[in-house]
Amino acid sequence: MDEKTRTRVGGPEDPREGLEAVVALRRTLEALEAAQVENAFIAGWSWAKIAEALGVSKQAVHKKHARRIRARYPGEPPGRKGRDL
């Protein structure tokens, strides 16, 4: 990357770049969690099992993800039979 396109030089002497990386990572983590919960759901995992794997309560997972996933899969999601949302 050349000087023109980059306003800041990276490295530990530049706290801003470090903090920006945290923000970028946080946003990416949120998207990744949403995607992997959705993947597990489609694979037929129960909320309890997903919660266990994430190390959080079932209520927490349900509260954070159920509505979004339900909206994305209005019918029965593939690989998920006879389970309630």
Partner: protein, 168 residues
């Protein structure tokens, strides 16, 4: 908060929230306010920006590139994360999650009002919002503009040129 806001600048803030949501920003940044101005279009600010080659598409891409660069600075490839997670991976903030104003976005809007008074106007237009954004010298919006090859001083100058033409 929106007292004296012109319809267009109010719309630009609404559009900014939509842009932030789409890009996965968990708070409304001052760069999103800039995107909102570009999306609401047709104002003095949008004219100044487009005359310097700043388009909505270009700014969106730059914002995504800033995210990619920030991740790669700590050794993470967004592309790999995306590939691993599959089709379900989407940076977009879900509709049921509210996103707050970031401190810098708030500051830009406060400064916008001051700019309006300073210029002796009594209606807050997108040009004032843009000036407010430029007041955040170290904000993401200014850094984004610089990455796109637009110097803040140049943009401010162009803004006053367009304003002058609009007035006279």
């Amino acid at each position: 908060m929106f007292t004296r806001f012109a319809d267009r600048s109010r719309q630009s803030v609404e559009a900014a929230f939509e842009e932030a949501r789409m890009l996965g920003h968990d708070s409304l940044g001052d760069e999103d306010l800039l995107l909102g101005i570009l999306r609401a279009d047709e104002g003095i600010a949008a004219e100044a920006l487009s005359s310097l080659g700043v388009t909505l598409e270009g700014a969106r891409e730059e914002s995504e590139e800033m995210l990619t660069d920030a991740l790669s600075s700590i050794g993470i490839s967004l592309e790999e994360v995306r590939t691993e997670a599959g089709d379900a991976f989407d940076m977009r903030i879900p509709d049921n999650r509210r996103i707050p104003y970031s401190p810098l976005a708030k500051k830009a809007l406060v400064e916008a009002r001051k700019e309006m008074r300073r210029l002796g106007n009594n209606c807050l237009g997108t040009e004032h919002v843009l000036l407010g954004i430029l007041d955040n010298e170290d904000g993401a919006a200014v850094r984004m503009l610089v990455r796109m090859g637009v110097a803040p001083e140049k943009l401010e100058e162009r803004l006053f040129e367009v304003c002058g033409r609009a007035a006279g």
